[in-house]
Symmetry: D2
Subunit: 165 residues, 4 copies
């Protein structure tokens, strides 16, 4: 595959597919953005949140984080990582912070104002984040749950910046 020939539209569509294949919809991520930003933006609509999530997912830096994190989840699920990394990721071990590191890379693109929102929903686990943290399914979402929270928080920060006239 010649990566330099991948167009912006193709890499965006691939990102949407990777997320959908792991059972998460753009609408679910946008729900988190709505939850975060609704107290601060009058007349906020679900459509505005969905548009913001899509714009976030068009950034190459963010796509790279999504691909890398989901790939590691998938390989952990199939036991195709070496120890101790395999057990660390399968058990979502508390001292492993590389999932947060990838999430921070996503947040940084829209400035530092998204960081507190990310931490807030990571602890509350509303909506889709609760489902992704259910360890009884056999699926591994160590990276994806943090990535989804970061994408939602980045989309919220983007909406906040957009309010400036």
């Amino acid at each position: 595959m010649n990566i330099s020939e991948l167009t912006r539209e193709e890499s965006y569509q691939l990102t949407l597919k990777w997320i959908k294949d792991r059972g998460v919809s753009v609408a679910e991520i946008a729900e988190l953005t709505y939850f975060l930003q609704e107290p601060f933006i009058p007349n906020l609509t679900h459509e505005m949140c969905q548009d913001s999530v899509c714009t976030v997912l068009k950034k190459r830096e963010i796509q790279n984080a999504v691909w890398t994190g989901i790939q590691l989840d998938l390989l952990a699920e199939k036991n195709q990582l070496a120890e101790p990394l395999l057990s660390i990721i399968r058990q979502d071990e508390s001292l492993y912070g590389i999932d947060e590191v990838l999430s921070i890379a996503i947040l940084n693109v829209y400035g530092s104002i998204g960081f507190t929102n990310y931490g807030y929903i990571d602890r509350l686990k509303p909506g889709v984040l609760k489902r992704l943290n259910d360890k009884s399914t056999g699926q591994v979402h160590t990276f994806l749950d943090d990535l989804v929270g970061a994408i939602a928080a980045a989309a919220a920060a983007r909406l906040a910046h957009d309010q400036q006239s």
Copy 2:
């Protein structure tokens, strides 16, 4: 003042003094650490949290962030900053993220696992954070409230790392 002659102990004592002079005690910061880490560490004591906060405050990178942030709060309080920065900091304007940027520098020293804790207490505003966010006092704590949250979250992350045998 010849900075290269400032000893570790002197720069630590200066940091404690700067924080105390703004009305915040180490015990109050340690309360936040206790609030964050108590669900995860059996037998956690207030003394352990206080020790962890003190260790965090001995790091030079963290001292630099504390001095810089408190200095900016003080200058904003006395109207000694130029516009538009003066109004931005006095009003704790929502698009200004440099207070978070300094806090992130503090969090980074203990790895990425402290980030979600920081965001969580920043939104909940427990304990001393509520007082620092009271805008009716005439005092400016735009930086200090974030710094205190970050120091508490860093101390919590430090305790988590310390549990490894």
Copy 3:
């Protein structure tokens, strides 16, 4: 001053003025971008670099870093900071990394690919960076020299991302 009424255009113009008042031109920053990116982009022009620097300076996160850093330089120059911060910033002390922290906030907006470029010109000190590091002038540019390097490296990363079709 009611900050929420500051328009995007006004905050951009203010940022240009703050930089110019410290003796640095957009063309000089764009020269650094050209130096960094010229080996990698065929047909790169000085005008493209200047446009990229201007686009970078329109981002609010970056404006906040510029205002905060230049303000601290100015106050250090006039001896209006408290000790030990005053001497630390006046002497550009080697353990003080808050100037780098603000620069990293600038770099993050265009993803991680700008980091190595920033480090490279920070050590080589080409063009305007050499002048800003001349300690014999009485002026303090502890923050500005890092900010200028970061803006140039961010503008270079932006050009690299723009090459994708």
Copy 4:
């Protein structure tokens, strides 16, 4: 594998083994640290640099970054990643910044003063970095070359902080 039973010593030894198995020695990383810090610390010895590299490699946050990065290099080498990630990592594509993101996580542990050193050696490619960037070997070191540079720069920052009395 029960990760919570992995001792500090075991995770350190595993990290040394992962790096050695990819053909890089602690002495080679310490050479880079010596190259960076030799102009600034009188009487700096190679042994001091080697000790500093070893101390850096004992930090769990840094071990996590090393394991994750080397694992991705290995999987890319064996064509066991999905597209487009496989080609991106195999070709060390210029817009992919997750290798830098992991390196930044390493640098952050010793504060912001290591960032410029990291960028500097990343562009100059002295010593072992030159070998790791030789694309003709069939080996993939997209992550490892950045990780090695970051470990060396972190060890240099650690030595600088240590000079404070």
